[in-house]
């Protein structure tokens, strides 16, 4: 189906001019917070827009959200917490570029700069680990204080508060982003070779190779409950089945939203099987997983590749941000 023929919600989008590339965005209550390539953070709450200079001399490279804060890392070496009221707190500064960030439900923050990974717990106690190569991705386990670190030739699983050395999940090649399944059974990385690699942690450390992408699958999203993993990196969202104990092995993935444009961002709805898909040509679609019904949220827009996509906690609103600083939100009637 061509996009032109799709039922469209495009006229219901509330546009936002972020002014710089949107490196990441998230909802904190009613506020949309955007981490920008020019080092600023934009807080949009209703008609009120506030700009916070979180990284005055830098660009934001990575960001992560939880329900109360946005944490950003920049090429100025800063790690900054910004709250919806515009207040900021600097957690680290002065070092190398911050290449990855992960947040823990307890309030702990992990970040990496160069080869050094720092885990800062909710009491402010810092532990560090030197990875074998510069990590590009970090992810906390859903339970317990344990961090997955993606690097060259595998991923390390590290308990910051234990003296035991990290547990190495090995697989040859350069691993970029990392994600942990919501049930904690699987760790999946994106790879330099346009593929995903997964490990089944129990019972046997089985390998899962998910390949066939035309680009690096740099965006991944778990469906609520973790039965599906949606991924970018092809001319459709590639969605792998993870409900069985073997994960996707021996099973074909589903392809959603096939278009002549590369999928660059995916975001599963928090409570139903609906997938938001952002494309390199600026298009945004909503796809109902069960019957593949599609809704258009944003038409293709030249020079405006989608760079960020996020649902609010209840799943009633979606926000997107783009490479040229354009952004928008949409409220869905249930």
């Amino acid at each position: 189906m061509s996009v032109g023929a799709l039922p469209s919600l495009a006229d219901q989008v509330v546009p936002i001019e972020a002014g710089a590339e949107v490196a990441g965005l998230g909802w904190l209550g009613d506020a949309v917070m955007m981490a920008l390539g020019d080092g600023g953070v934009l807080v949009v709450q209703g008609d009120d827009t506030r700009r916070v200079h979180a990284h005055p001399d830098g660009a934001i490279l990575v960001s992560a959200f939880d329900k109360g804060r946005l944490v950003t890392g920049g090429d100025d070496g800063r790690v900054v917490v910004t709250r919806p009221d515009g207040t900021t707190r600097i957690l680290a500064e002065g070092g190398a570029w911050i290449d990855s960030i992960a947040l823990h439900p307890s309030g702990a923050v992990a970040y990496s700069a160069g080869r050094t990974v720092t885990a800062l717990d909710d009491k402010g106690r810092a532990k560090t680990f030197d990875a074998p190569s510069t990590p590009r991705g970090l992810a906390f386990a859903p339970k317990g204080y344990r961090l997955a670190i993606a690097h060259y030739n595998g991923a390390s699983l590290w308990y910051p508060n234990l003296e035991t050395p990290p547990d190495l999940l090995d697989w040859k090649g350069s691993h970029l982003d990392v994600t942990w399944s919501p049930d904690g059974r699987f760790v999946v990385t994106s790879m330099q070779e346009n593929a995903l690699h997964g490990w089944r942690l129990a019972p046997d450390r089985g390998h899962m190779r998910m390949s066939g992408y035309t680009a690096k699958p740099r965006s991944v999203s778990w469906s609520f409950g973790g039965a599906w993993l949606a991924t970018s990196g092809a001319d459709a969202a590639i969605v792998w089945p993870f409900a069985s104990k073997d994960g996707p092995m021996g099973k074909a993935p589903r392809e959603c939203g096939v278009r002549h444009a590369k999928v660059v961002k995916v975001a599963f709805h928090p409570s139903v099987n609906v997938l938001a898909v952002g494309y390199e040509d600026g298009c945004v679609l909503l796809i109902r997983f069960d019957d593949a019904a599609e809704l258009l949220v944003r038409r293709a827009t030249e020079g405006s590749a989608v760079t960020a996509l996020a649902w609010d906690r209840a799943g009633g609103r979606l926000a997107f941000g783009c490479a040229d600083g354009r952004a928008g939100t949409i409220t869905l009637s249930s």
């Binding site: 090429d75 570029w97 510069t134 060259y152 090649g173 350069s174 330099q192 070779e193």
Partner: protein, 321 residues
């Protein structure tokens, strides 16, 4: 600058003490109105006012693509991605490698990584060589030989420390290893910046624009112990023979071929076919039309280690149309 413009990347190599940092400082302090993002391994005595400086560890990664010599610089992929957040705030990227670095992984990064290739283009590999010590280094340091073999531009530096005869000898030695690079004799790396930057050395449309002298003679073969360079010329070649030949040759002997390039004439094809390669990676396309005053002939150059020149020549000649 539009978003679709690719950022040019210049790679500065050179053995320890040859004068890389001097050249870098010269580029950065010259009045040219341009801003650079500079990727360095050690924060040394670098003059930066308006420029962006990024520290890097040279992280050389093997690709799992069945090609043993296919290595990329993982740190470069990461840094170029990050620098693109500041797109529009700098005009070009300079990469200073360590004295012991092999330029191949840097060059291969631009062939292999799609994200890098979409945003940036390799402009040239510039090698600074020490006129007094190069000959000795070529004997005891394989890295030094790689850096000469790989270069598009060579600064034969510190010429004030050697006699004219010694200088001629060292340049002749460089020519044995790399017949296609531009060689400039310098003191303190004093050179007009346009000779170093914006060379478009990897632009297929400009391949072999600087025609090596020895090509005039037909078949040439230069030996420098194990490092070899040679070139062949022929008339029109049959694409159905040439394409499989060059592809199989680089697949089989790619580990030994540091660089190759050529301009090829196919029968009834109005455009020149041009190609270049780094180890096993090949890039080729039809470029501009043959001009009326140009002789339609095919010319290829190979630089590599322990290559069988006779076998390669025979293979090339067998592609004749």
């Amino acid at each position: 600058m539009t978003m679709t413009d690719k950022i040019p990347v210049t790679v500065l190599t050179g053995y320890l003490g040859a004068g890389k940092t001097t050249l870098l400082n010269r580029i950065l302090t010259e009045e040219h109105g341009k801003k650079y993002a500079v990727i360095v391994n050690e924060f040394g005595e670098i003059g930066i006012d308006n420029d962006l400086i990024v520290g890097a560890d040279e992280e050389v990664f093997e690709m799992n693509n069945g090609c043993i010599c296919c290595t990329v610089r993982g740190d470069l992929i990461r840094i170029i991605e990050g620098l693109m957040k500041r797109r529009g705030k700098f005009d070009a990227i300079l990469v200073e490698t360590t004295g012991l670095a092999d330029p191949a992984p840097v060059a291969q990064t631009f062939f292999v990584d799609q994200d890098v290739a979409e945003r940036a283009r390799l402009d040239a590999v510039v090698t600074v060589a020490d006129a007094k010590w190069l000959v000795q280094r070529l004997g005891d340091a394989p890295e030094a030989k790689n850096q000469i073999a790989f270069a598009d531009v060579i600064l034969l530096n510190k010429t004030d420390l050697v006699s004219p005869a010694e200088l001629d000898a060292v340049e002749a030695r460089i020519r044995l290893i790399n017949p296609t690079a531009r060689v400039h004799r310098t003191v303190n790396c004093a050179i007009p910046i346009p000779e170093v930057l914006d060379r478009n050395a990897f632009d297929l449309d400009r391949i072999m624009e600087v025609e090596p002298d020895f090509l005039e003679e037909g078949h040439h073969h230069h030996h420098d112990e194990e490092m070899t360079s040679f070139s062949f010329r022929s008339g029109e070649v049959n694409p159905d023979k040439f394409m499989p030949w060059i592809s199989e040759l680089t697949q089989r002997d790619g580990a030994q071929i540091l660089r190759c390039k050529g301009i090829v004439a196919f029968p009834d094809e109005p455009k020149r076919f041009v190609f270049q390669g780094v180890h096993m990676l090949l890039d080729g396309d039809l470029s501009r039309d043959w001009r009326a005053d140009e002789k339609r002939e095919s010319r290829v150059v190979f630089i590599g280690r322990e290559l069988n020149a006779d076998a390669i020549r025979d293979g090339f000649m067998a592609c004749a149309a």
